[in-house]
């Protein structure tokens, strides 16, 4: 998956496990950037009696690097606090929840937002903001869109924020990919290890009809840039920022003797990180994934070998013998992937003015060029599809990052940096065969769709 359960230790800690990160110029508010960090993978909608919530003991952060060094220059912090308003009931709610202050709603969650800039300059933007409830069903949450809408809070100065449950927008055929890479659309080409041949088939979305918990914040472009400028020239490095999200826990936790939570103390320790989708999942060895999660992007040169020589590219040649002869013969370091994922793409590679380049520091960050406006007709294949407002220029909720990255690893982007390379014919069919068609999204902030209700899913 994008980053769901991508490392052994964080897979056991869902509330701190980042799943997806999005960063894009707001399509309906051109002077702002929307940043969305999703947590808690694969929430089954029917989750009673204890529905999902953020971790009160987790510090969630969205970081922005605006000078290319892979360290945060602006950070938005989110801290949560849960309360039980009806101590005597075993229920999440004892009647229909029709407003965020409903007296029927027992288990509620609130949060604060803090902006940190420079080196430890903190500004509390808001406290005690209400999260919406989870989507339970027609009796408990009869008008869920209204509850979610009420949970979009203005922070002033052109900023707004939302934190709560949303429908999963990421799509992937997880079952096929991790069954030894038998991508269903080209399964007939798989070597199958001598087992009976597979037939080509359409993909199956493994993340259909599940929910996540989203932290979404929309801020003016000038909130994020060095010198608070609004970049106009996309070819300049100053036009691009790097974005990543982290979750951190206190270093020491002592369990309570009475079955209660006990206490946490000491500094926060980073336990989850996400910049580009699939980076930790696909390019970092299993034994190093949790270590990667604890690091800052500025130290990612130590993981660059996995980008320059990705294991998956070699596996494609083994799993699909004869399908990728040009990729098999290509022995140079993958400068295309290093640019896309670690430094940004310099101007002149895709076009004279397109760039996501932030500098020579190798750092896994989701890079967004703030001088490139949102596309009026987004192409889910982003830059590969000729839409320079899409991934890997930021990431929109509709971008098909799995297919984009599979094709890139299979060699689709090598010609950008090495014109002597000819793409293999099979490239066009490299996909997990799943699309975002049918996803229910919003046209306005926070863009992700209404979460599935436990009454309706599973049907």
């Amino acid at each position: 998956m994008s980053s769901h359960r991508e490392a052994p230790e964080i897979a056991k800690d869902p509330v701190a496990d980042s799943t997806d990160l999005y960063a894009f110029i707001s399509p309906d508010n051109a002077n702002t950037v929307t940043l969305i960090a999703n947590y808690i993978p694969l929430e089954g909608p029917a989750a009673g009696p204890n529905f999902y919530e953020f971790g009160d003991d987790v510090l969630y952060e969205i970081h922005i690097d605006n000078d290319g060094d892979g360290d945060a220059d602006v950070t938005y912090q989110f801290s949560f606090n849960s309360v039980n308003t009806i101590p005597t009931t075993f229920l999440y709610n004892v009647g229909p929840i029709e407003s965020l202050d409903s007296s029927y709603w027992n288990r509620r969650q609130f949060y604060s937002v803090t902006r940190v800039s420079g080196w430890d300059r903190s500004e509390v933007l808001a406290t005690n903001l209400a999260c919406p409830p989870c989507n339970i069903g027609p009796l408990s949450t009869p008008n869920y869109p209204a509850l979610a809408s009420a949970a979009v809070h203005s922070l002033g100065n052109g900023r707004q924020v939302f934190a709560g449950q949303r429908a999963e927008a990421f799509f992937v055929d997880l079952g096929a990919i991790f069954d030894l890479g038998d991508l269903r659309p080209i399964a007939n080409l798989h070597n199958t290890f001598g087992l009976p041949a597979l037939q080509a088939a359409a993909g199956v979305n493994s993340t259909a009809q599940v929910n996540v918990h989203s932290i979404a914040i929309q801020v003016p472009i000038t909130d994020l840039t060095k010198g608070n400028i609004a970049p106009k020239n996309p070819a300049l490095a100053a036009a691009s920022i790097g974005v990543w999200t982290t979750a951190s826990r206190r270093k020491a936790h002592v369990r309570g003797d009475d079955g209660g939570r006990g206490f946490d103390t000491g500094p926060y320790v980073q336990v989850s990180r996400l910049g580009n989708p699939l980076f930790n999942e696909v390019l970092v060895p299993l034994s190093q994934k949790d270590g990667w999660n604890s690091q800052s992007p500025s130290g990612d040169s130590s993981y660059a070998q996995g980008v320059a020589s990705p294991e998956l590219a070699g596996l494609l040649n083994v799993l699909y013998p004869g399908a990728f002869p040009h990729l098999a013969a290509y022995t140079k370091p993958r400068a295309d992937l290093e640019a896309i994922l670690l430094t940004g793409i310099p101007a002149g590679v895709v076009s004279p003015t397109f760039s996501t380049f932030t500098g020579t520091t190798q750092a896994d960050m989701l890079r967004l060029n703030l001088a490139i406006p949102a596309a009026s007709s987004p192409n889910p294949f982003g830059v590969l599809g000729g839409d320079v407002a899409g991934f890997p220029n930021g990431r929109r909720v509709t971008d098909d990052v799995v297919t984009i990255e599979l094709q890139a690893i299979a060699g689709a982007t090598i010609p950008l940096v090495d014109p002597t390379y000819t793409k293999d014919g099979a490239i066009a069919d490299v996909s997990d065969g799943v699309t975002g068609a049918g996803l229910s999204l919003l046209a306005t902030f926070p863009y992700l769709g209404t979460p599935y209700s436990g009454y309706n899913v599973p049907a």
């Binding site: 430890d120 020491a252 103390t265 000491g266 500094p267 320790v269 980073q270």
Partner: protein, 97 residues
């Protein structure tokens, strides 16, 4: 003594070893703190003065990383303070016997 801020801890290696939790103002931890605090006027066995006590509901956890070198990490508030005190380490280890 090595204070660690929120923004520098990311680059520090994690720790994994036996930890000794000292909640509140038990007899052991304050002795260690009193010993290690640079410039502290108290001797290592002196009782804490009122102003030296833990703040409010603050909890303190001491993690002996290496009993022989006396390397102890103290977790308090949002800080980690590392001290090197073989005497305190030895007392804590013996207290568990």
């Amino acid at each position: 003594m090595e204070p660690v801020s929120r923004r520098t801890f990311f680059k520090q290696a994690g720790v994994a070893a036996a930890a000794v939790a000292v909640a509140g103002s038990t007899a052991v931890a304050p002795v260690g703190l009193g010993t290690a605090m640079a410039g502290a006027a108290t001797t290592k066995d002196a009782p804490l003065a009122p102003e030296e006590n833990l703040r409010g509901n603050e909890e303190l956890v001491a993690h002996i990383k290496n009993a022989h070198t006396g390397e102890i990490s103290l977790f308090v508030g949002e800080r980690e303070v590392t001290i090197h005190d073989t005497t305190v380490a030895a007392r804590l280890v013996r207290a568990t016997r």
